[in-house]
Amino acid sequence: MSLPNHITEKIHQHYQASNWCLITLDQNNQIVQINSKASKELNIKNQEQDIREALPLLATESLNESFFLPFYNHDQFVYDVHFIVEPKFKYLIMVPIDLVHQQVQYKQQKAHIEQIEKIRFKTLLAALELAQEELINANDAKSFYISALSHEMGNPLNAIKGYNNLLQNNAIEINKATTVIEKNVNKLNQIITQALDYDNKNSHHNKSVFKPHQMVNELINDFKLQAQQKSIKLSNQMDKGLAISSHQTKWQQILTNLISNAIKYTESGSVTIKSIIKDSHLFIDIIDTGCGISDEFQSNLFKAWSRERKSEAKGNGIGLVISKMLAEQLSADLLLLKTSPAGSTFRLKFPYENIVSRKHILLVDDDQDCLALFEYYLTQARHHVTTANNIDAMAEQLKSKTFDVLITDLNLGESKATEIFTLINNSAKLKIVITANPTTQITEQLYQTGFDLVLSKPLNQLDLVNSVA
């Protein structure tokens, strides 16, 4: 029942050892012999014990085939396990390899710790690289921002300087010059406000209703001096009645940049600003008779710091980038529509829903001055206005027609507009009431009555026009 010689020799040869745990099993896996080392180290007390219960190592083994398990850690000992199935008996041989284990463990632990340090270093390095990249990007953004700011301030400064020179040479009337200078000082102020807004992401300036035709007229006036120097004709072909609800300052910056560029790259001829309403969009074309843009340069057109050196014009090529960026903020698109050596056309494509549609408004006020003023404000924004100066006239209108909007003063002589609210509600889609006494209580009552909006006097043009838009 002792271990067959060929097995003993092999173990001797391999391990140079002579002392190992040995458990001999019969073909039914019953322990037939256990040596003292096995009994002591594996804590197997008697031969009656179920070997699978006694040794978790064998708990799930079929014990029908030989196997080898290196480095089995059992309590404080480490063994190489050989399970050998022979014709008559099965042998579980566990050769202690504590010394080898210690050496391997020391080596591996050292290698693992080194590798962990390497991984930590790599992670740290990656985080540092990322931080550096973010810093570089932030720095680039800051540079771009500063350049953009100085670019945007260039045009109004130019106008201020030019008109100031004219003043010094007595070449212009003081009133005319100061109007232009003041307007451009306001523009500078707006640019600074917008720059602060840009820095403060929580700040939002509201939309307002304005007429692009009027804006272009003012810009043409600002650029008059520059255009005159080159004998360039500036032409405003915008729809006079067109009103849009959008961020006026951004529009002004975009158009300023586009007109400025058109003049810069045109040596003679004209710069035309034209509006077209088509396919649910408002298109604004800036058409010049300048030198055109080369095929190669077109792909870089909206990239910062790229400027084609085809003209004597000074600039850093940032204007188009800023304009494109601002257009995107307005849900609009800026593109180069066409270009040739005879000139270029840049197009602003703006969604139609921002165009203020012409509305039929019934305006009611018993104060003739207010009525006339508010009528002027609303017709300026292209609306069709019908007026009434008392409650009976209002009722008469409401009985015979329907209106997009009703704007009425609350107090109409001895009567109140709320008295005929049912009629108002049936005949007007949007119901606005104006009160000179806007207490919280009155305002709440008016909303409860069913008015859509409560405005308070005094009322300026912007507030009135915006309320209708």
Binding site: R52, P56, L57, A59, T60, E61, S62, F67, F68, L69, P70, F71, Y72, N73, H74, V78, H101, V104, Q105, Q108, Q109, H112, I113, Q115, I116, I119, T123
Partner: protein
């Protein structure tokens, strides 16, 4: 009572031994000690099941880990939540032993207590979803979800 062989598999230093210690002895040690070979622990799960947990040395190319996997009833894959590269190790193991894909398994995303050092991305969840069906964010240190994970595995084996 049926004995079920459960194999813990993963890269070195992901916390396999610590997870077994927490589950079996409710104990945790900060000291890192590399496992060479295999350590075996047992725990009675319920009146019908005993887990024989094989805590296998961290996978490395020179390790002959395959003999330890023979006859495994279930696998617990272990990765380190603070070290995404430990997931790559599981890919290598499965490439080397594709038969493991057919064995019930769970994955322990260990060291969840190191909240400031966790580097996890959705892509890792997608990777693990290809390896196993259930993942648990575990902490051998605090014991978080260790027992839950083992119980889930037992449930799979029913």
């Amino acid at each position: 009572m049926k004995s079920k062989k459960i194999c813990m598999i993963g890269r070195f230093a992901v916390g396999k031994t610590s997870l077994v210690d927490r589950f079996v002895k409710n104990h945790f040690s900060e000291k890192y000690q590399t496992t060479v070979g295999v350590g075996i622990s047992t725990k009675i799960i319920d009146e019908n099941t005993k887990f024989i947990i094989w805590d296998i040395a961290g996978f490395e190319k020179e390790n002959h880990y395959k003999p330890y996997l023979r006859g495994a009833h279930a696998i617990i894959y272990v990765v380190d939540a603070t070290e995404p590269e430990s997931i790559t190790t599981l890919d290598s193991i499965l490439q080397d032993s594709p038969e493991l894909a057919d064995i019930p398994s769970v994955c322990f995303i260990n060291k969840s207590d190191l909240t400031n050092e966790i580097q996890w991305q959705d892509a890792f969840d997608e990777k693990l979803a290809k390896i196993t069906t259930q993942c648990f964010w575990t902490s051998a240190k605090t014991g978080e979800d260790v027992e839950t994970g083992f119980n889930a595995l037992n449930h799979q084996l029913l």
